[in-house]
Amino acid sequence: MNTLKILRDLFHYNKEFAAGLLIVLVVLAIAACSFFSPYPPLDVYVVPPDMPPSWEYPFGTTSRGQDVFWQLTFAVRNTLLFGIVVAVISRVISLCVGLVSGYRGGWIDRVLMSINDTFVVIPLFPILVLFYFIMRDQMTWAMLAIIVSLLGWAYDARLIRSIAMSLRTREFTRQAVFSGMGTGRIVWQEHLPFVLPIVFSTTLNNINWSIGIEVTLSVLGFTDINTPTIGGMIYWANQHTALVSGVWWWVTFPIAIVVLLFIGLFLLAISMNEYIDPRSRLSRLGGPS
């Protein structure tokens, strides 16, 4: 109930939120269309190839004889799902690591944070490419999601740790320790509600980040190219030298959709942030500090 009211107020008073929400809903609607697609996603030459956008084929057709619009619906769905899976898995890891290391401190903190900092500094892209070359055919969509989420939790774990460290010294934590609550219950029941809003905001950013990774890898062909994703579509378009042969719609529409998705999620993330942090609401009013 309350959540709905908050969302309504955000929608009314926060233009970024309204715009972001609309854009994300449009992208979600496109993804939902995939369930009504007349063509299976992997079939080729189901429509005449290289048709420009028209009433019959709103986004045109590819050189492989696929309808760009219906192909795109699958691509958006898979890419979005990829982002969400990565965000959820990496959130779970960063919550566990951040909360436990911030609360326990001492050697647990040192061990967890040295692992954490290792993940912060290792270069992500070469590692992913390396994984692809080692695994080749086993590099499925799910495997890539797991690898990316294992590499993508470290920044947020540090953020969560910093909050947990301050919560550790609060009176209610002392009270909880005094009443005999263990680490698990303190972290889960007392501290988790504090970090959830921040985690929610970083989740949206993390979805963006992982979609970026996925698109980059797919464009270069370092993923399972048979699963239709946004990056995968661009990869096939490049393979058929779409831009040279004038089939611009094959590249343009996937890029437009992914840019829309980025903007939508980004707007949502920053407007959420404003709701979560009341001080930024005040700074919005302007005036000298």
Partner: protein, 356 residues
């Protein structure tokens, strides 16, 4: 709160027989060994005292005198770098005696809340700000009482009513309550399991005097009803005058004087206590108050001998060399001062001047 020395302090007689808490030669130090620096802060140094059943024992002293460290040590709510160096803390509950530092974690969890509860310093923030108050009760108190579910909430509800709180506060968030209500909820939380011993660390410091009076009266009421003992810590000496049965004065990690509260206010013996009490404002007294020179010593490098000697007007040679032992001068009255214990008659007339 105005100072009223003649406040009735209730059950003075009841406090007798076996003490509920006996602290024996307790030493608790903060020890830091980091990056080549070794530092030892002797926050509690060689303290011995006892608290009887059904008694409110006050502990007074200025900031950094080791009050909070002492009670954390008593409750065994300590974590590094604070550690107990020597001595013992023994509780004598109705079902047996327990040495706090010989208990296993399970045994310790077993006595907390049920037998021993702790109202923390800054108790305004004891309640988790993002959770409803009923969850605080469930988290902190439920594991320690036999009732579960509806029976548990019934118990809490009855208890809250005793503290003049409505049951509906259980559904509120802490920020929705006033400071006084929050304080009462905190006290309700600490007393809902009917503990035999309550440690209260500055529970009323953040409140204005009117609310403070109400909360103190309530604390007294609940203590009488449960028949528990209270260790009450605050730097506000006027609160002690109103509430406590016995009073211990701490200075720089040591107990310097102890006695019945009324007795102590009427006839303070230790020079530090005398200054403390003569600093209290009184209605009709318009003489300017004189502050004590200097400041409390650094406990990482305390002065030799008596820790009060650099600021003491009565200091003699022996004070610089030897720490004064706690000496019982009259029954129920102990003081740690070379000068006073050498000649108790000397200090009495001086006091009559100080306190008309």
């Amino acid at each position: 709160m105005t100072f009223q020395p003649a406040t009735a302090s209730g059950n003075v007689e009841a406090a007798s027989s076996t003490p509920v808490l006996s602290v024996d030669a307790l030493k608790a130090y903060y020890r830091l060994k980091l990056f080549g620096i070794e530092r030892e802060v002797r926050a509690v140094d060689d303290l011995t005292f006892e608290i009887g059943r059904n008694e409110i024992y006050g502990l007074a002293g200025e900031s950094s005198s080791g009050k909070s460290t002492l009670i954390r040590t008593i409750a065994r709510a300590i974590r590094p770098p604070l550690a107990v160096e020597a001595g013992s803390v023994r509780f004598n509950f109705s079902d047996g005696t327990r040495d706090m530092y010989r208990l296993s974690p399970q045994e310790l969890a077993g006595i907390r809340w049920k037998r021993l509860s702790y109202i923390m310093q800054g108790s305004m923030s004891v309640l988790n700000p993002v959770r409803r108050i009923k969850h605080s009760f469930i988290d902190f108190a439920m594991p320690h009482v036999p009732e579960k579910g509806a029976a548990f909430f019934d118990r809490i509800g009855r208890h809250l009513e005793k503290l003049h709180l409505d049951r509906s506060v259980l559904n509120a968030f802490p920020h929705e309550l006033s400071g006084g209500m929050r304080q009462r909820v905190t006290i309700a939380l600490a007393t809902v399991c009917g503990p035999e011993f309550i440690i209260a660390d500055e529970p009323t410091t953040a409140l204005d005097v009117i609310v403070q009076k109400g909360v103190l009266a309530m604390l007294r009421e609940i203590q009488r009803e449960l028949g528990s003992s209270v260790l009450f810590v605050t730097h506000d000496i006027a609160v002690h005058a109103n509430l406590t049965d016995r009073l211990g004065i701490m200075y720089a990690g040591r107990l310097v004087e102890e006695g019945w509260t009324r007795d102590l206010f009427r006839r303070p013996l230790h020079p530090y206590t005398r200054h403390l009490i003569s600093s209290l404002p009184q209605i009709g007294d318009d003489t300017p108050k004189k502050g004590l020179e200097g400041s409390p010593p650094n406990l990482a490098a305390p002065p030799s001998g008596c820790r009060f000697h650099p600021r003491c007007p009565l200091a003699v040679d022996i004070c610089r060399r030897q720490a004064p032992p706690m000496v019982t001068v009259t029954p129920g009255r102990r003081v740690a001062c070379h000068v006073v214990t050498a000649d108790p008659g000397l200090s009495a007339p001086a006091m009559e001047e100080a306190r008309p």
